[in-house]
Symmetry: C2
Subunit: 341 residues, 2 copies
DNA sequence: TCGTTTAGCTAAATTGTTTTAGTTTTAAAG
DNA sequence: CTTTAAAACTAAAACAATTTAGCTAAACGA
């Protein structure tokens, strides 16, 4: 697999100049380094002619920069992550950065391994949807002055940039919406995960329930076995709590799976049981009857994430002052009784 | 942003050995290179103690290998691509490879740029969902002995590995299904793209129409303006062809967008107009009434793609004999009149 | 005892770039 | 006709690994 790509050395030899000169010119430092306009022009013309492009590995070895961002998500197959990935990739690309991505599937060991692998590959910055227990690894990244931005959820014990949404408020509003429609028995279907975004959503639910003096109905689906357990646990939950007149799903996959169950059980929505989903997506947009959903501002999140990372990357070191931003989410009303927003 | 990572040099100095010895041991060549067991053990213990990990950039510079695969899709935000990405990533990871991905958004110039960027970064192999007009660039990759696997669609003018599905058969079956249900006016909603997978789907449709002596109803949505045009063009198409009693959507985004339109127009499905979609996904799975859909065997495709690429990577050069595989797709019957499969 | 093997290790080149610390040439100043 | 300064360029080190070719010392055989 011999590749005889042209190198700076080849150019300098062909033109009777030094590597230094070529490098300066190629990096736009010709004027600064007092390379004459004629020489610069000659080099540029030749470079274009032979179609030279720099070897990023060699450059990265010297500069310590690779113009690569490591992007760690829970699962790229999840529409929430793939959509934000699409937006982040686009913005990174526009700023000269490439993305290496990987999925943790919620496993901390894999996340640790991925971070180390990314480090060995010299990625310049990290965008991470952290798993529980990733504190030490991320703290170390910061100590090594590697820019990191967390998103979707954060790690309470460590100080770092974070972009997410105001989960508590969003869930509160979602449940408030149900309560305002006269629902008295609002259930929350969530996971057993201790991730901050899930805890906040839980808090939002509890807050509304307390304020309205309603009864709590919470079903925790074990995250690791969500595929197998959702259906059985949810069916049992519905059977054991026949008074439930409305349900909030705390994530998109719970909503999709849950709606599938409700449909198969022929539960009348929204008349018998009203539904609100956290995280909007294609499936919910098409679902009939209309499912009111919490929409995350993906574009805005992606922009904030990239901007913050680029800021630190440009600064050349990790900012002492961490940026912690929770964007408001938007409740999209889709109940058949309401006007579509 | 000074990082003082430990290097082989540090280890050799600390242990009074040479870089060569350390490198041999770390690469499992100790026996082959006749390094004594004691020394090997001592080195390994020290390496573990100080937590050394190799610099992939330096290694890549010397070996020309980076254990990285470049993955070029149309748009990672599209569920088809994000799901296959998830599967490919997992399998690549299990084989010690990382993925760098990027989206072309169907633009050839961007695809060319991406391929070159990947090359400059020294990716070992390429998995590409090609845009039209990418022939020269891919031919060149092959000439440079860089392993390439195309998927979803191929480029008829060049010889290269390709994994996809038998689009013509799949579309034929989908339309046959409608015809067998007594539909006489079957329409196809597709794009104006000349990509092979789209042309094959078109052929499948035309074949069935011809065989059954039916009338053709085809709507071509311009790919570049699909977002804006789908609704207006589709509505007009329906108005101009009131006899249509069934519709095949040729891609997932056309199906989702089209169903949205049909719903807003309050078209009775499947009684008034039956629908079949190409490419199954969450949204269709949840849609009511059940939408019969062509499901692509994603796992199998991902496995074939990775296996083929790894084969070439292990071989160390591009295989002369190209692998061209079209997997059968599966029609998932979901019409309310049928049993769910 | 001398030559040959073999075990056990290493010096140094190599990869392609960036960058520091120059050197040489030319022009201006005194 | 020096000295000084600026202009235009370059030699060589550095980055962190891999790898080729070879070196030294001990063991072995005749």
């Amino acid at each position: 697999m011999k590749r005889n790509r042209i190198s700076i050395k080849d150019i300098s030899k062909a033109l009777g100049l030094s590597n230094t000169t070529i490098s300066f010119i190629l990096n736009g430092k010709a004027e600064e380094m007092r390379i004459s306009a004629q020489v610069a022009e000659r080099v540029l013309a030749y470079v274009k002619e032979v179609g030279y492009t720099p070897n990023y590995l060699a450059r990265g070895l010297v500069t310590g920069k690779t113009n690569t961002i490591g992007f760690i998500v829970e699962n790229i197959g999840n529409p929430f992550f793939s959509q934000i990935a699409s937006l982040i990739e686009e913005q990174a690309y526009n700023n000269g950065y490439k993305i290496i991505y990987s999925s943790t599937n919620g496993q901390t060991e894999k996340a640790v391994e991925l971070i180390r692998m990314f480090r060995d590959r010299g990625v310049d910055g990290y965008i991470i949807c952290p798993t529980e227990g990733l504190e030490d690894e991320i703290k170390q990244l910061r100590e090594e002055n590697r820019p990191v931005v967390l998103f979707d959820r954060y790690l309470p014990m460590i100080d770092s940039h974070y972009i997410g949404i105001s989960n508590e408020d969003a869930m509160y509003e979602a449940c408030e919406h149900l309560a305002n429609k006269g629902k008295k028995h609002i259930a929350l279907i969530t996971t057993d995960s201790q991730q901050t975004q899930m805890l906040s959503r839980l808090e939002g639910y509890k807050k509304l329930i307390k304020e309205r003096k309603l009864e709590e109905y919470i079903l925790y689906i074990p995250y690791k076995e969500r595929k197998e357990r959702l259906q059985s646990d949810f069916e049992e939950f519905l059977k054991n709590n026949p008074t439930i007149d409305s349900i909030c799903f705390a994530t998109n996959y719970l909503a999709v799976g849950g709606l599938e169950v409700m449909r198969s059980k022929k539960i009348k929505m929204p008349t018998k049981v009203a539904v609100v989903a956290f995280d909007d997506n294609e499936a919910l947009r098409l679902f009939q009857p209309g499912i009111t959903a919490v929409e995350q501002p993906l574009e805005e999140m992606a922009k904030l994430i990239i901007d913050r990372l680029l800021l630190d990357l440009k600064l050349g070191k990790v900012n002492d002052k961490t940026f912690h931003k929770e964007l408001p989410a938007r409740l999209i009303l889709r109940d058949s009784t309401e006007k579509l927003v």
